[in-house]
């Protein structure tokens, strides 16, 4: 794995050095490191010649650009209205019990973070969750457990 500095350099190389490339660079870091560390934010500020506060200001605006450490797999359960109607509470409780963490927390082995999200665009097939970039609609507690178990088994 690349060091943070090397990763930032690579992303800047690929996306360009203008302000317009800030989002793709931050997104690229999150993809690799699952969150934006202080080191990463400072590196980006240096490479793009922006104030660190400016970079942090942008990063902290977006839900998917986490600035606190997250697990390797980020589970986001939709909590908005129609998923609520279709039983998102049960899904959250089931996952919370199985992973032994509350919403917002990360497991000790750093494999999972459990979060809620606003409407994911699958309202007709709720309840739904996103794990990293993968979407899982029409969940039942059982189904949600099985999916997460699959992630737990996989090594990467």
């Amino acid at each position: 794995m690349l060091t943070t500095e090397a990763l930032v350099k690579e992303l800047v190389e690929k996306n360009g050095r203008t302000r317009n490339s800030l989002m793709p660079v931050l997104q690229g870091i999150v993809q690799q490191e699952h969150f934006l560390s202080e080191e990463a934010l400072l590196c980006v500020a240096r490479e793009l010649d922006l104030a660190a506060a400016d970079v942090y200001g942008t990063a902290s605006f977006y839900t998917f650009l986490d600035t606190v450490p997250r697990g390797k797999n980020i589970i986001r359960v939709c909590k908005t209205i129609t998923c609520h109607m279709k039983g998102k509470d049960e899904i959250i409780n089931t996952l919370s019990n199985a992973l032994k963490i509350k919403v917002g927390e990360t497991t000790h082995d750093k494999k999972f973070t459990l979060l809620t999200a606003n409407c994911l665009g699958w309202c007709h097939k709720g309840p739904v969750m996103l794990i990293n970039d993968e979407v899982y609609p029409e969940l039942t507690p059982q189904k949600a457990l099985e999916i997460v178990e699959e992630y737990a088994k996989s090594t990467h």
Partner: protein
């Protein structure tokens, strides 16, 4: 009961005789002015919710001077209850690409961007492949236009066009002051056409089938058809393309479960229509306009919970830039909680309604301005459910 609800199939129609690239070839032989005239004639209004006439938007941008202009496809669909664009992106992306290219030709832009919400990143693999083929096809035809993707990172407000530009420019997605409008100064402060996914597909289809066929659908105020996303208490949730201007009762006959108490038209920021008003509510620009979201609630649902969910959503998604919205959303949420707990008298709800009036006038963008839609329609029609 008799039902005249007209299902249409323009967007997802599989027509072997006409591929998006062929529509493009045919259309680019015509003059930009003719294309604009057709679009204006068709009566197509933006399908993202605001409903600005698409042909005029293109015309204004075409008339701006300057050699750098942009076409942007707004695929930052985040309104709760709305999922039509995801389906369009997944099933007929080439029709979106073609619409963007035609727009580029009309206004004189060389670059187009699709701003895809981060929640839809799983679509990217397939989309990038199709985009590469499409861009190659443009190159082969010597068409000087390229399309790129930009991903969002989970912020509902970025669906607001000026916030979307800010985000593309690497900033916090905070809406800008208007004017200037995007047609004058949009992305990178250049003249920009920004259209919703569905709107762009309709431009392709109008170029394909001609304005007459499109115009024949709908009503005089609401021309054409549109894609609706139906969710909630319905046996048949999903995506449906329907003629505009339908009476709500016909919609409920078709999609309700026999026990429909209310329909939230236009997503969380739209209006909640109670059963007693189904008969005289029209879905279209002459009645309740909508970006396409239809959420159905049956009699077992607590409208307090529904409103509470909506307000939580807005409180979380407000960009925080202006006080009426940032503080207003929180006060509305706390306010209905206080009334529910009996800490405030029922009359407090009327004070809160006044607050939404202030928000409508003083909030900077559509998010803060429209919170009063669900709030007032639910308070007015289901007051007892909020109090007890």
């Amino acid at each position: 009961m008799e039902n005249n609800l007209k299902k249409v199939d323009i967007i997802f129609e599989v027509d072997d005789k006409c591929t998006p690239l062929e529509v493009l070839d045919k259309t680019l032989k015509r003059s930009a002015d003719d294309i604009i005239l057709d679009l204006i004639d068709s009566g197509l209004k933006g399908r993202g919710g605001a409903g600005f006439p698409t042909g005029l938007k293109w015309k204004f941008t075409r008339n701006e001077s300057g050699d750098v202009k942009y076409v942007i496809c707004n695929a930052d669909e985040g309104e709760p209850g709305t999922f039509k664009d995801r389906e369009i992106l997944d099933r007929v992306p080439e029709k979106i690409f073609a619409g963007m290219t035609i727009c580029g030709y009309v206004i004189g832009a060389k670059e187009g961007y699709i701003y895809l919400r981060g929640e839809y990143n799983f679509l990217l693999k397939n989309l990038l492949k199709k985009l590469e083929d499409f861009n190659n096809a443009l190159k082969k035809r010597n068409i000087d236009f390229r399309i790129y993707f930009k991903s969002g990172s989970g912020a509902y407000v970025c669906g607001e066009e000026s916030a979307l530009f800010e985000s593309m420019e690497g900033k916090r997605g905070e809406p800008r002051n208007k004017p200037p409008y995007p047609t004058v100064a949009g992305y990178n402060s250049k003249p920009t056409v920004i259209n919703n996914v569905e709107t762009l597909v309709y431009t392709t289809m109008i170029c394909h089938m001609g304005p007459e066929k499109f115009k024949a659908l709908g009503t005089s105020d609401s021309r054409g058809s549109k894609v609706f996303s139906v969710s909630g208490d319905t046996p048949i949730p999903g995506i449906y393309e329907l003629e505009l201007g339908m009476p709500l009762h016909e919609f409920v006959n078709e999609f309700g479960d026999g026990d429909t108490k209310a329909v939230q038209v236009g997503g969380a920021s739209g209006h909640c229509v109670p059963r007693k008003k189904f008969n005289d509510t029209i879905i279209g620009f002459e009645g309740i306009p909508t970006g396409g979201s239809m959420m159905i609630f049956n009699s077992s649902r607590s409208m307090y919970n529904v409103l509470h969910d909506y307000l939580e959503f807005f409180t979380e998604e407000s960009c925080g830039q202006c006080t009426p919205c940032r503080v207003g959303c929180q006060q509305l949420l706390k306010g209905i909680e206080a009334v529910k707990r009996g800490e405030r008298p029922p009359a407090y709800l009327d004070d809160l309604k006044k607050l939404t009036g202030t928000m409508k006038i003083a909030a900077k963008c559509g998010l803060g301005q429209s919170v009063g839609n669900p709030f007032n329609s639910i308070i007015d029609n289901f007051r007892e459910e909020i109090i007890y």
